[in-house]
């Protein structure tokens, strides 16, 4: 029989705890970020995720919200060159970080190799998972652990695509990997 409420329940509790603090305003904290090369001095509430900061406050809507729980990869951005799910990062924890989003990777008229390869291979349909796939692929390239097609598939598995463009995505990523392996470097 369950006899007691645990003090070990240090961060789980019922609705009551929320009610107690309902009326208390949340603080606003300073945050310094470099986003796509641009230094930004921001003020954020600690409960704002990097994804919501980008999409709702900075109008950088290229990073997508597909689940908001780290289960789809659509929100993938690069933090200091590493791919992460921006939906699970509280922005305030990233003070001083360098963020690259799809908007920073390449722009219309100035496409990144991966962006061009995705178009060429028709590596998307609805396009909603696409920025996350491309940022993830850039992260995969930075990591340097994927070389074969099987490795690309495994290492891209954190990015779901409901339209089912997987084989074309793999083709696009492999093309860029190969081109880079053959000495063609992107600055």
């Amino acid at each position: 029989m369950i006899t007691e409420r645990a003090e070990a329940l240090h961060h789980t509790a019922g609705r009551e705890s929320g009610k107690r603090v309902a009326a208390t305003p949340i603080a606003t904290l300073p945050l310094q970020l470099t986003i796509n090369g641009e230094e930004r001095a921001l003020q954020v509430e600690p409960w704002t995720t990097l994804l919501d900061l980008l999409r709702e406050k900075l109008d950088l809507t290229g990073s997508k919200k597909g689940c908001d729980h780290g289960q789809c990869g659509a929100c993938t951005v690069l933090i200091d060159g590493k791919r992460i799910n921006s939906c699970l990062k509280l922005a305030v924890t990233l003070d001083g970080a360098e963020i690259t989003t799809i908007e920073g990777l390449g722009q219309p008229g100035n496409l990144h190799q991966l962006q061009a390869a995705f178009i060429e291979h028709d590596a998307f349909q609805c396009g909603y998972c696409t920025p996350g796939q491309i940022c993830s692929a850039q992260g995969l390239i930075n990591e340097g652990h994927a070389h074969s097609r099987a490795e690309v598939r495994e290492q891209m598995s954190g990015n779901l695509c409901r339209c089912g463009a997987y084989t074309n995505i793999a083709d696009a990523v492999i093309e860029v990997l190969d081109r880079r392996a053959n000495g063609e470097k992107q600055e």
Partner: protein
């Protein structure tokens, strides 16, 4: 002019909206930067059925930034009559009306929407709304619901439902058959789960009008629905859906988030955005669960003599969703005796809905598993059995097809796959610890056409804009429009802009049923032909009349921004010169493509369908029963292919979703609580990169000038039909284990016994 470069129908043009999509500049419903926007977060019902007795909003309203809470208690006026809530694809019953009253009809039903200055404040406050209920008995269990199954009377059926037409005497033939197969087949509840969660941004203009950026598959149906349901007047509602992050049917009908966003906007006279959570994505449309009893009788050689079909699919208590489940085998196979019956069973869930190839993806797929079983019974190669029972006509409706190149699809698919190397015995192919299985199945879907209008505007700089209120949900509609226009007027795609996804544009139907490319394409072609006629007329004003002698545009070649005489290509003039000579700064036309009388007659006299042959290789670990789908070849007969690149992608996508149907996708419901439990992307599994290895798509030649004006049949759905059966049949060939319930998860395979030595 020598062999002018022409990007027309049949060329693999890269998606014209590709740049927007890969750079993140394509705007989806929740991404419009509207000034003074408020954020709404829905409060969802804990219970599955009953009534709300109290709403305690005190704590929620105390949260700084909260502006208001809208619920049944304070919502703006809604239309009373159910008919005012009918949308383009409504089905018999009472459409769901959020906040209409205190009734709870399904778990997760929106009860209130908390509106705040920030998303975070709204989300927090929504968690503080306390709801009291009186609960009523409920049922979401499909097996239990079968006790209440019924066939709706004629007047209460979906208007696109096709009842099975029986032929011969199936019962007697089955009893007399040399060989029989009899089984209960099952498909789990699936949720569409497009990557983009349903979202609506409502911009309040202050003059009584609103612009709704919505996730919807048809802006004009949405516009009419919102105008009617909330008494706004059609002129005051504009719906924009320029980009839709997948839908697969979940956006055919307006979903509840748009109701909430519009109600909140009206109530507060402010702009409001409401985005569903992924968990809330499990509180609306889903593919119905299906139970399908199939009996097949055949002669010793496998020639089918009887088929008896009985299927039931799930619906809600408030609407009667119906699908064509049992007709596919009856149409596809030559078999003198066939019967079918169909029921729906109500559960206390939201209404089931069309999901990629509704009916066929379920019915044809399950039927194709039964057909496979008969092949083993008859000791006939599964492909040969299908050829033995091949029907050149629609065997149920006794009508010829406008075209049916399924035989070619079987042949080309088998060749590419290497089917002849298959050894017939189950468990006869093995490599290391893996059993290898090869399976085949047939796919079939409708080739439909829907009345659609398009506008073309040619300006004197040689640029063209084509526009229609169609939608592109990843289907490639933008690209098809550009390509058909380029083909018709010989203008380079870089100089053509396609506009769609806006209720202000010329009338188009909802994007669904795979009719988009055929219908929008035909409308664009008509509009462009109309422009061409005006150009021909205008060319008369050019000195020397270079196009003289052309009686119609059929006598002309349009290429490279120029017009030439077919008979004498040296007689050529550029489009811009024609316009200048005629003093035209623009030519604007709008045309509507409709089936016309001959088309209507053809529709009655002939069946119009796409077909496919799917070949699949699986590798199954003999002891652990882990399944890998290592190879799929899908050979498709779908008339004329406008763009082989985007068309291929459509099929790839269908195949991937078919792999999900075969192995992964299943929504689990808790009977006691009456709610779906794995309502997230971590526990509702869709295929990931690692699950998809090698898929090949073949389009077989199938000229069909009759089916639609462009000879196009549509490709959005055929890719999924039958794919799961090919996987299931391959699993049987590998393991000797026949699993009749999809998805074939590892537990089912572990529990199954091989039925061969």
């Amino acid at each position: 002019m020598n062999a002018p470069a022409k990007v027309g129908i049949g060329t693999p043009l890269s998606r014209v909206d590709g740049t927007e999509k890969v750079t993140g500049t394509a705007k989806y419903a929740a991404e419009y930067n509207v000034p003074d926007l408020l954020y709404g977060v829905a409060v969802s019902s804990r219970i599955a059925k009953g009534r709300i007795t109290a709403l305690d909003e005190e704590a929620a309203r105390a949260v700084p930034g909260v502006v208001d809470i809208v619920s049944h208690r304070n919502r703006p006026k809604q239309a009373w009559l159910d008919r005012s809530w009918k949308d383009e694809l409504s089905i018999p019953g009472e459409p769901f009306k959020a906040f209409h009253d205190e009734q709870i009809l399904f778990a997760g039903q929106p009860i209130a929407v908390v509106i705040a200055e920030t998303f975070e404040a709204a989300r927090f406050a929504a968690s503080l709304v306390e709801v009291s209920y009186t609960e009523e008995a409920h049922n979401i269990d499909f097996e239990a619901s079968l006790a209440e199954k019924f066939t709706p009377s004629h007047l209460k059926r979906r208007n696109n439902y096709h009842p099975p037409k029986n032929r011969g005497n199936a019962d007697a033939a089955f009893k007399a058959a040399n060989l029989t197969v009899e089984g209960e087949y099952h498909l789990a509840t699936e949720h569409h789960n497009p990557m983009e969660m349903h979202a609506s941004t409502v911009e309040w203009h202050g003059d009584g009008s609103i612009t709704v950026f919505d996730k919807i598959q048809g802006p004009q149906g949405d516009q009419a629905y919102l105008a009617s349901a909330f008494g706004l007047g059609k002129k005051n509602v504009r719906v924009v859906n320029s980009y839709v992050g997948g839908a697969f049917g979940s956006g055919l009908r307006p979903q509840w988030q748009v109701q909430l966003a519009v109600m909140a906007a009206i109530h507060l006279e402010r702009s409001v955005r409401v985005v569903m959570t992924r968990a809330q994505m499990f509180t609306h449309a889903h593919r119905p669960e299906c139970s399908y009893s199939i009996k097949l009788g055949a002669e010793h050689n496998g020639k089918l003599s009887a088929m008896i079909n009985s299927a039931t699919t799930s619906t809600s208590r408030f609407e009667s969703n119906m699908e064509d489940i049992v007709v596919w085998g009856m149409m596809n196979y030559d078999c003198p005796n066939a019967s079918g019956e169909y029921f729906i069973a109500p559960r206390d869930t939201y209404t089931s809905a069309d999901m990629r190839a509704p009916g066929a993806a379920t019915g044809m797929t399950l039927f194709e598993i039964a057909v496979d079983e008969m092949a083993y019974k008859a000791k006939v190669d599964p492909l040969d059995l299908r050829l033995l029972n091949y029907s050149n006509v629609d065997a149920m409706n006794e009508t010829p097809f406008t075209s049916k190149a399924l035989r070619e699809a079987y042949r080309e698919g088998a060749e590419r796959f290497g089917w002849e190397k298959r050894t017939p015995q189950p468990r006869s192919m093995k490599e290391g610890r893996e059993l290898i299985g090869w399976g085949v199945a047939t796919g079939m879907w409708d080739a439909q056409f829907s009345k659609t209008a398009a506008r073309a505007v040619l300006t004197d700089d040689g640029r063209l804009e084509v526009a229609s209120a169609a939608s592109d949900i990843g289907t490639g509609t933008y690209t098809v429009m550009v390509q058909v226009a380029a083909d018709t007027l010989g203008i380079t795609p870089e100089h053509i802009r396609a506009k769609l996804g806006d209720s202000d544009l010329p009338t188009a139907p909802v994007e669904g049923g795979s009719w988009g490319a055929a219908s929008t394409g035909a409308a664009v072609q008509l509009a462009c032909q109309s422009v061409a006629k005006q150009l021909l007329k205008a060319a008369e004003k050019i000195e020397g009349k270079p196009l003289h002698g052309a009686n119609s545009i059929d006598d002309l070649v349009f290429a490279d921004g120029a017009i030439a005489l077919k008979t004498d290509p040296s007689r050529i003039v550029t489009i811009t010169d024609v316009m200048k000579a005629a003093g035209l700064d623009r030519i604007e036309v709008e045309e509507t493509a409709s089936p016309g009388i001959s088309g209507m007659i053809s529709m009655m006299r002939k069946s119009r369908n796409t077909h496919s042959a799917i070949f699949c290789e699986v590798r199954v670990d003999e002891e652990l029963n882990q399944v890998r789908v290592t190879r799929v070849v899908n050979a498709v007969a779908a008339g004329r292919i406008i763009n082989p690149k985007t068309a291929r992608s459509q099929i790839l996508g269908g195949v991937v979703m078919g792999i999900g149907m075969a192995l992964h996708e299943e929504t689990f419901g808790d009977r006691q609580l009456g709610r779906w439990m794995n309502h997230n992307y971590a526990e509702y599994h869709v295929p990931a990169h690692a699950d998809v290895e090698d898929i090949e798509v073949i389009f077989v030649d199938e000229p069909d000038p009759e089916v639609t004006p462009l000879g196009v049949k549509g490709l959005g759905e055929i890719g999924i039909v039958g794919t799961a059966a090919a996987v299931a049949n391959a699993i049987y060939h590998a393991t000797g284990k026949r699993v009749r319930a999809l998805p074939i998860t590892i537990d089912k395979l572990l529990d199954a016994e091989p039925d061969v030595a």
